[in-house]
């Protein structure tokens, strides 16, 4: 093990959950992350009929699943699969299901089953791509996919891999679109929402070697997240090595390790 390697391993085991949980929920809802539904809650098909937002129905189980609760992951995956069986173009079900497949892929890799892991991984990414293609103006779907991809890139990156470079670029383009959409009300969003979006952009661009862009977003953090921990974190990065890859641990992540 050596120095640079170890530094880059900084986010290694957290990655997706932190970024996805933090950015997605906070940005999309512009309010605090709701506590995940208890495991014994009746599964909410009825809630959907009552018009409750899809992400609010599923996210508790998804994040619990990402943190290791297989029963809740299975339950929510089945919920999405039932919806997709009726409507294969249900973009929200697709993006969340894609995220669930990535979680299942990580479980397969942990067991040493790389073949299954690779299959699930590819399917997960494909479903997320499809979801954005089906609903290109859906902010929640853009955020879900982008946060996942930026989180994955933070946890490991091969600069020579053209396909993953394109994935990250598209994730950043979508995040910038989200920022544009939210700009008129940006100051009314929670500090968490503002900070996670801007840090996601700073981090993603720095991974791609676009350090000027990354620093521009860090400076935006100073302006838009004044007097928050995001401001001091951005200041630290701006003071440091200008070509460093910005690694950001989601602040105030609402996903508990166990429930």
């Amino acid at each position: 093990m050596n120095t640079t390697h170890a530094r880059r391993v900084r986010l290694l085991k957290c990655l997706l959950v932190l970024v996805l949980a933090g950015s997605h929920a906070a940005l999309y809802h512009a309010r605090a992350f709701l506590a995940p539904a208890p495991a014994d809650t009746q599964y909410p098909a009825a809630q959907q009929e009552q018009g409750e937002r899809f992400d609010e129905i599923v996210r508790g189980d998804f994040f619990a699943g990402m943190m290791g609760d297989d029963a809740r992951l299975d339950r929510v995956m089945k919920f999405c699969e039932d919806i997709l069986a009726k409507n294969p173009k249900h973009a929200e079900a697709l993006v969340w299901h894609g995220g669930g497949l990535l979680t299942r892929a990580s479980r397969a890799y942990a067991r040493g089953d790389s073949a299954l892991g690779d299959r699930l991984w590819e399917r997960g990414l494909k479903e997320m791509d499809e979801a954005v293609a089906i609903a290109p103006r859906h902010m929640g779907i853009k955020i879900g996919r982008s946060a996942t991809l930026i989180g994955l890139a933070q946890s490991g990156w091969d600069a020579s891999d053209a396909r993953n470079k394109a994935l990250l670029e598209s994730a950043l383009a979508d995040y910038e679109t989200v920022y544009r959409w939210r700009r008129p009300v940006f100051s009314t969003l929670s500090a968490h929402s503002r900070g996670e979006l801007l840090f996601g952009l700073a981090s993603g661009w720095s991974i791609l070697g676009e350090h000027r862009k990354a620093r521009a977003y860090l400076r935006l953090v100073l302006e838009k997240c004044k007097d928050t921990p995001y401001e001091s974190e951005a200041r630290k990065w701006l003071k440091g090595e200008p070509t460093a890859v910005v690694q950001h641990d989601c602040r105030g992540c609402h996903v508990g390790r166990s429930r």
């Binding site: 093990m1 085991k13 040493g112 994955l152 994935l167 390790r257």
Partner: protein
């Protein structure tokens, strides 16, 4: 009675020798000595040749020891490649090393060294693969825990696990405290090896404890003055000490006058 006693002693001595040969197979052979030297000097081409030799040997003999050595040489090749910022060689070495270590684990699931090398190489691979943490993080940790469980005296396993603890966020099981604890444990087990001291030096430096960092890196240099990784960390420590000293230097009369003006 005496004869029995002698026999027991002889058998014990034989057993210890056999065990030492098995464990020390990695430490004592000329090939291992040469590879370690190449690692210390960051000689990528030389290490690649040695890796190729062992790879052929492993393919021909299918022996556990050969795969274990192949995994170890790949770890060292990663270190040498890193010194030259050669990402391509680094990634290839980590991937081949993982494959070799997996084979070693398959051939001898009770080998702590094999699990340690697998865990370490998976960790090496993480930053070079898209989503590497998600793919290999958990497995790497599991392998290192297994290595410690199988041999609580495996100092390398404590070092690798400590690194993993240090760089994992707390909410995901990381702990800087635990990292220091495990490195100190590694020092207790193997006081004369350099690796635990190098990492203690680095972590102390990051914590702003430069004197402790210097003390640790000097212990590492005493153990092995030739390792370029050690010398890299040493230069890092001394330069940050110099910087700190410059920062503390009282302002010259000229500067003070300028400031006053």
């Amino acid at each position: 009675m005496k004869r029995w006693l002698l026999l027991v002693v002889a058998l014990l001595a034989g057993a210890v020798t056999v065990q030492a040969q098995t464990i020390g197979a990695l430490d004592d052979s000329l090939e291992v000595v040469a590879a370690r030297k190449s690692r210390d000097r960051a000689e990528v081409a030389q290490l690649q040749k040695l890796v190729e030799n062992v790879r052929r040997e492993a393919e021909e003999t299918k022996r556990f020891e050969a795969y274990l050595r192949l995994a170890l040489f790949n770890v060292w090749l990663c270190e040498a490649a890193e010194a030259h910022q050669n990402k391509e060689v680094f990634k290839q070495a980590a991937e081949s090393g993982v494959a070799a270590a997996e084979k070693a684990v398959e051939l001898n699931p009770q080998s702590s060294e094999a699990h340690q090398l697998l865990g370490d190489l998976l960790n090496q691979l993480i930053p070079h693969v898209f989503g590497g943490g998600m793919r290999y993080g958990k497995r790497s940790t599991d392998e290192l825990d297994k290595a410690i469980e199988l041999n609580p005296k495996n100092a390398d396993a404590y070092v690798s696990r400590a690194i993993s603890y240090y760089y994992t966020p707390e909410s995901f099981g990381g702990s800087k405290e635990k990292a220091f604890e495990l490195l100190k444990k590694a020092v207790e087990i193997a006081p004369h090896t350099d690796s635990p001291h190098i990492w203690l030096a680095m972590f102390n430096l990051e914590a702003g404890r430069t004197q402790e960092a210097l003390r640790e890196i000097n212990l590492a240099r005493r153990a092995n003055p030739e390792r370029s990784f050690t010398n890299f960390v040493y230069s890092h420590i001394t330069s940050s000490m110099k910087k700190a000293k410059r920062g503390r230097k009282p302002a010259s009369r000229k500067t003070a006058a300028r400031k006053a003006a």
